[in-house]
C-alpha cells in the first residue's frame, strides 16, 4: 500500500549519534512520574489480601454487566465519534460549501465543554420541565408522560450520544490535519485513474489517515473509559463506577484498586490495538511537494447537505449547551454573582492548567524526540506507558498520587523541622503543586503524541541528512525538529490546557485549603442538586477553553508551511 508521494519508513537504518543524556533523563523522569501512581495502585491492590475475597461476589454480580456496559459504551462512543470526526474532516478538507471556512474551526469547539456539564445540560433540556417538552405539551394539550413518549438521555444510548458530541473533535482534529496534508498529487493521480469521490475516500483518504484516526480514537476511548461524572449521572453502570462503589460502599480501597488493575488491562488492549491499527508502517509525507488539496465546490443540494452535516455537531455539541447556560445566567440574574472570588477561581484554573501545559510540552517534546532517535529500544514502550495516566479514572489516579506525594511531603516537613526547626507544612499538597503533577501525569500522553505526530511529518532521512552535514543531537533538535514540530507542539500544549481547565477529580482531591477552581465550584453546586447556580462558572470554563480550542482549529498542522 505504498501510495505515491508517501515514503515507507518502517525499515530505516539505525542512526548514528551520541545518546543525549538529557533526553534520556527527561524520559526517565516522565516515565517515573507516570509509574508512581500506577505503582501505588498495584501496591494498594496487593496490600490487603483479604480484599481478594470480594472477587467471587464481583465476578458473579458486578463485573459481567459492568464489562458489558463498558464495552457497549466504548463501542458506541468510538463509532459515533469516528463517523462524525472523519466525516466532517473529509468534508471540510475536500469540498467547498457555504459556511465551510467558519465550520472548519467551529467543529473543534465542543472540546471546550466538559462531558459532565454537557450531560447535565441535556438532561435539563430534554427533561419533563425542559423547554422542548414544555413546548410540546403547550402545542398538543398533552399533560403528562402518560400521554406521550419522549426520549430520555439517562441511559446508555444517551451517554453514547452525549459523550460522542463532546469527544469527536479529537478525531476531527487529528484526521483533518492528515487529510489536509495528503498532497494534491495523490488525489489527482487517483482521479486520473478514474476513482470517484467515494473510492478516493475509502481507498486513499481513509487508509492514509489511519494512524491519525487511531490516535484520535484512542483519546476518545480513554476519555470515555475514565469518565465518571457524565456516565454516573446518566446511569451507566460502567467499570469505573464499579470501582467507586467497591471503594466507597464496601470501604475496600484495595478491592477498588484490584478492579482498577483489571481496567488497566483493558487500556493496555486499547493501546496495543492502536499500534496494530497504525500498522508497523509509518508514512512520512514529503513536505516539499505537499500542495494543498484543491477543494471541489459542491452544488446544491449536496452543498446544503454538507453544510448541515458539519453544522449539526457544532450546534449540538457547543451552540445549544452554550445557549442554555447563557439563558440560565440571564434568567437567574447570575451575572450579579460575578465577583472577585469567581475571578480568583478563574485565575487558579488558568495557573494550574497553564503550568501543567508547559511541563507536559517540555517533557513530551523530550520524550518524543528521544523515541524518534530510536537508539534505545526500551524507550518506545515507556512512552506508551504514559498513555496509562490518561486512561486511569481521575480519582484513582489522584489516590495513586496522593500516597507517594504525601509521603514526600511528610519526609520534607520532618526534615525541615529536624534540620532547620521550620514548620513548612505539606509543601506539594499545600501549594497546589500536587495538582499540577496530577495534570502532568494525566495529560503527558497528549504532549508526547502531539509532538510525535508533528515529527512524523519529517522524514527521518532529513535527520540523516542533517547528521551527514555534521549537525549533532541538540542542534538537530533545536534547528530541525523544534521548528518543524512547533505547530503540533503548541497544539498539544493548548489541548492540555483545555483538558486541565475541565479536570475535576484530581483537582478536587489534591488541592490545598481555600483553593477553588471553576470546575470545583461547578461541582459544588451540582452535587447539592443546584447545577444551574454554577452556570456562570461553567460558562467561564467553556469560554476559557473556547479560545484555545479556536486557535487549535485555526492553526492546526495543516495550516502551516
Amino acid at each position: 500500500m505504498s501510495a505515491a508521494g508517501a515514503i515507507d519508513t518502517s525499515r530505516r537504518p539505525p542512526l548514528a549519534g551520541r545518546p543525549s543524556t538529557r533526553l534520556a533523563f527527561a524520559v526517565l523522569g516522565g516515565g517515573a512520574l507516570v509509574l508512581l501512581p500506577l505503582a501505588a495502585l498495584v501496591a494498594t491492590a496487593l496490600s490487603a489480601p483479604e480484599a481478594a475475597s470480594i472477587w467471587p461476589h464481583l465476578a458473579a454480580h458486578v463485573l459481567p454487566s459492568a464489562l458489558a456496559q463498558t464495552a457497549l459504551l466504548l463501542a458506541g462512543v468510538g463509532l459515533l465519534s469516528a463517523v462524525i470526526g472523519v466525516g466532517t474532516a473529509w468534508l471540510v478538507t475536500q469540498y467547498d460549501f457555504p459556511g465551510r471556512p467558519s465550520l472548519e474551526w467551529l467543529l473543534a469547539l465542543p472540546l471546550a465543554l466538559p462531558t459532565y456539564i454537557t450531560a447535565y445540560i441535556y438532561v435539563e433540556l430534554l427533561g419533563f420541565t425542559g423547554p422542548l417538552q414544555t413546548a410540546l405539551r403547550a402545542l398538543t394539550g398533552w399533560r403528562s408522560l402518560r400521554d406521550y413518549w419522549f426520549p430520555d438521555p439517562r441511559n446508555i444510548a444517551g451517554a453514547v450520544v452525549i459523550m460522542a458530541l463532546v469527544l469527536y473533535p479529537y478525531v476531527y482534529l487529528s484526521t483533518r490535519a492528515l487529510f489536509g496534508l495528503q498532497s494534491a498529487s495523490i488525489a489527482e493521480a487517483a482521479r486520473t485513474l478514474g476513482a470517484g469521490p467515494r473510492r478516493l475516500f475509502w481507498r486513499i483518504g481513509l487508509p492514509l489517515a489511519r494512524p491519525a484516526l487511531a490516535a484520535g480514537l484512542v483519546l476518545v476511548l480513554l476519555e470515555t473509559l475514565n469518565d465518571i461524572g457524565a456516565t454516573e449521572y446518566l446511569g451507566v453502570q460502567s467499570l469505573t463506577l464499579s470501582i467507586y462503589t467497591t471503594w466507597l460502599n464496601r470501604g475496600s480501597l484495595a478491592g477498588a484498586a484490584q478492579i482498577a488493575c483489571v481496567m488497566l488491562l483493558v487500556v493496555f488492549a486499547l493501546i496495543v490495538a492502536e499500534k496494530r491499527l497504525r500498522g508497523q508502517r509509518r508514512f512520512a509525507l514529503p513536505t516539499r511537494q505537499a500542495r494543498p488539496v484543491a477543494r471541489r465546490r459542491l452544488r446544491a443540494p449536496a452543498a446544503a447537505l454538507a453544510s448541515l452535516a458539519c453544522a449539526l455537531p457544532v450546534l449540538l455539541g457547543a451552540a445549544i449547551p452554550l445557549a442554555y447556560l447563557c439563558t440560565e445566567i440571564l434568567r437567574r440574574n447570575l451575572l450579579a454573582q460575578f465577583d472577585l472570588a469567581l475571578l480568583r477561581q478563574l485565575g487558579h484554573a488558568v495557573l494550574l492548567s497553564g503550568t501543567a501545559a508547559l511541563v507536559v510540552t517540555a517533557l513530551g517534546f523530550a520524550i518524543a524526540a528521544a523515541v524518534r532517535r530510536g537508539r534505545e529500544r526500551w524507550l518506545a514502550p515507556l512512552a506508551r506507558i504514559a498513555a496509562l495516566g490518561y486512561a486511569v479514572p481521575g480519582t484513582v489516579l489522584a489516590l495513586g498520587l496522593l500516597i507517594p506525594l504525601a509521603a514526600i511531603d511528610n519526609a520534607l516537613a520532618d526534615a525541615a523541622r529536624h534540620w532547620f526547626g521550620l514548620g513548612t507544612g505539606l509543601l506539594l499538597i499545600g501549594s497546589g503543586t500536587a495538582v499540577v503533577i496530577a495534570y502532568v501525569v494525566r495529560f503527558l500522553t497528549i504532549g508526547i503524541s502531539g509532538v510525535e505526530s508533528g515529527l512524523s511529518r519529517v522524514s527521518p532521512r532529513i535527520d540523516d541528512a542533517a547528521r551527514a552535514l555534521g549537525a549533532r543531537g541538540p542542534e538537530i533538535l533545536r534547528r530541525l525538529h523544534w521548528p518543524l514540530a512547533r505547530g503540533a507542539t503548541a497544539a498539544a500544549a493548548l489541548l492540555v490546557f483545555v483538558d486541565g481547565l475541565k479536570e475535576l477529580p484530581a483537582t478536587l482531591l489534591l488541592r490545598p485549603l481555600n483553593l477553588e477552581t471553576l470546575a470545583t465550584t461547578v461541582y459544588g453546586h451540582a452535587s447539592r442538586g443546584a447545577f444551574e447556580e454554577g452556570a456562570l462558572a461553567a460558562l467561564l470554563i467553556i469560554l476559557a477553553g473556547l479560545y484555545p480550542a479556536m486557535i487549535l482549529a485555526r492553526t492546526g498542522p495543516d495550516r502551516r508551511g
Partner: protein, 337 residues
C-alpha cells in the same frame, strides 16, 4: 529539552501564589458538605470569635487524604454526611475523641457514640407521592414492595450512600434474606432504572412517570423555596408520613469529627461548640432544611414544613455495620441494572 529553569521557576511561582497563608488563629476544616451550605455559619463564626476557618471541600477520598497526610496533616475537623462515611473515618483511625461541655449538654448520647463523632443535623429519608394520583397520606417502607406500585415507583441508584444506609437499616430490622426479597420487589416496581438524584424523582412524579418515590427530607424543603421549574416539582408531590412497619422513620445525620493530628485542637472544639449553638444551628440547619440536633431550636424550617420526625430505634452504629451486606445485596439482585 527537559524541564528548563523557566518552567521550574514558574512552578515555584505557582507554588508561592497558591500557598495558603495560615493565620495564627485558625481552624482547618475538611468537608464533604458543599461550601455554599457551610459558608454562612463559618463566616458568622469568624465574625464572632476572630478565628479564621480554612476549608477544603472534598468528595470521595477525604479519608484517604487525611490518612496519607499523616502526622503533618493540617486537618483539624472533618465535616461529613452519612453515618457510613463517618463510621468509616473512625474505623480508619484518623479521628480522636471529641468532647466538651456544650457537646455533652446539647447532643444526646446516641447521636455521639463513644464521643467518636458529634451529630450536627439530622435528615429523614421518606416517601413522597403524587398529590393528584395517590390518596393515602401515610405509608410504611415495606409497603413500597406491594405490587400495587408496579411501574409506579422511582428511586435513585441503590448503591448511592443514602439508599445504602436505608437498606442497611432494613437489614438491621429484618435480616438479609427478607431484605433481599424486599429489594427484588422494590426493583420490580420501579418505573425506570434507579438513577439520577433525589430531586429527579420529584420531577418524575410531576411528569407522570411514577406515583411514589423515596427522597431525603431537605430536598423537599429546597424545592419548596426554588424560584424555577423545581417549584413545579414540589407542587406535584406530597410527603407521606413514612415509618417502618415496626414504627420509626429512617434518619441519617451530618456530623463532625476531630482529626487525630489536629494542630489547632482548642479552636476546633470552639468551632464545634459554636455550630451546636442555637444561632448556628438555625443558620446551618435551616439553610438546608435539616433537623437541628439542638433541641432548643424548636421552630426549624424542616419541622415547619414537614412536621416532627420520630427516628427509627436501630442505632446508627448498627446501620453502619450493615453497609457492606446492603451493598452486596444491591449487586446481587441487580438493583441498579
Amino acid at each position: 529539552m527537559m524541564i528548563g529553569k523557566k518552567q521550574l521557576s514558574l512552578l515555584a511561582l505557582s507554588a508561592s501564589l497558591l500557598a495558603t497563608p495560615v493565620l495564627a488563629q485558625s481552624v482547618n476544616l475538611y468537608t464533604t458538605r458543599e461550601p455554599a451550605l457551610l459558608n454562612p455559619v463559618l463566616e458568622a463564626f469568624t465574625k464572632d470569635t476572630g478565628v479564621k476557618v480554612n476549608a477544603v471541600f472534598l468528595k470521595d477520598g477525604l479519608q484517604e487524604r487525611i490518612r496519607a497526610e499523616g502526622a503533618n496533616s493540617p486537618a483539624d475537623l472533618m465535616l461529613l454526611v452519612d453515618v457510613g462515611e463517618i463510621d468509616a473515618a473512625v474505623q480508619a483511625g484518623i479521628t480522636q475523641p471529641l468532647k466538651s461541655e456544650t457537646i455533652a449538654k446539647v447532643v444526646p448520647a446516641q447521636l455521639r457514640p463513644d464521643d467518636a463523632w458529634v451529630t450536627l443535623t439530622k435528615r429523614a429519608r421518606i416517601v413522597v407521592a403524587s398529590k393528584e394520583r395517590v390518596a393515602q397520606d401515610t405509608i410504611t417502607y415495606e409497603e413500597l414492595a406491594d405490587p400495587k406500585w408496579k411501574g409506579k415507583f422511582c428511586i435513585r441508584a441503590g448503591q448511592h450512600p443514602y439508599n445504602n444506609a436505608f437498606f442497611a437499616a432494613m437489614i438491621a430490622h429484618d435480616g438479609e434474606a427478607k431484605t433481599e426479597t424486599y429489594l427484588k420487589a422494590l426493583r420490580a416496581n420501579a418505573a425506570r432504572k434507579p438513577g439520577g438524584g433525589d430531586r429527579d424523582v420529584a420531577r418524575d412524579i410531576q411528569s407522570g412517570l411514577c406515583d411514589v418515590a423515596i427522597i431525603n427530607t431537605y430536598y423537599i424543603g429546597l424545592m419548596s423555596q426554588a424560584k424555577n421549574e423545581q417549584k413545579g416539582w414540589f407542587d406535584a408531590i406530597k410527603p407521606l408520613k413514612t415509618t417502618f412497619a415496626k414504627g420509626g422513620t429512617h434518619v441519617n445525620v451530618s456530623a463532625v469529627a476531630l482529626a487525630k493530628n489536629a494542630p489547632n485542637k482548642a479552636d476546633a472544639v470552639k468551632l464545634v461548640d459554636y455550630m451546636l449553638g442555637e444561632k448556628a444551628q438555625a443558620l446551618y440547619a435551616n439553610g438546608n432544611f435539616e433537623y437541628p440536633v439542638n433541641a432548643a431550636v424548636t421552630d426549624s424550617a424542616a419541622v415547619k414544613l414537614l412536621g416532627p420526625v420520630t427516628p427509627d430505634t436501630i442505632s446508627l452504629s448498627e446501620i453502619a455495620r450493615q453497609r457492606k451486606p446492603a451493598a452486596n445485596l444491591v449487586d446481587k439482585v441487580g438493583f441498579d441494572s
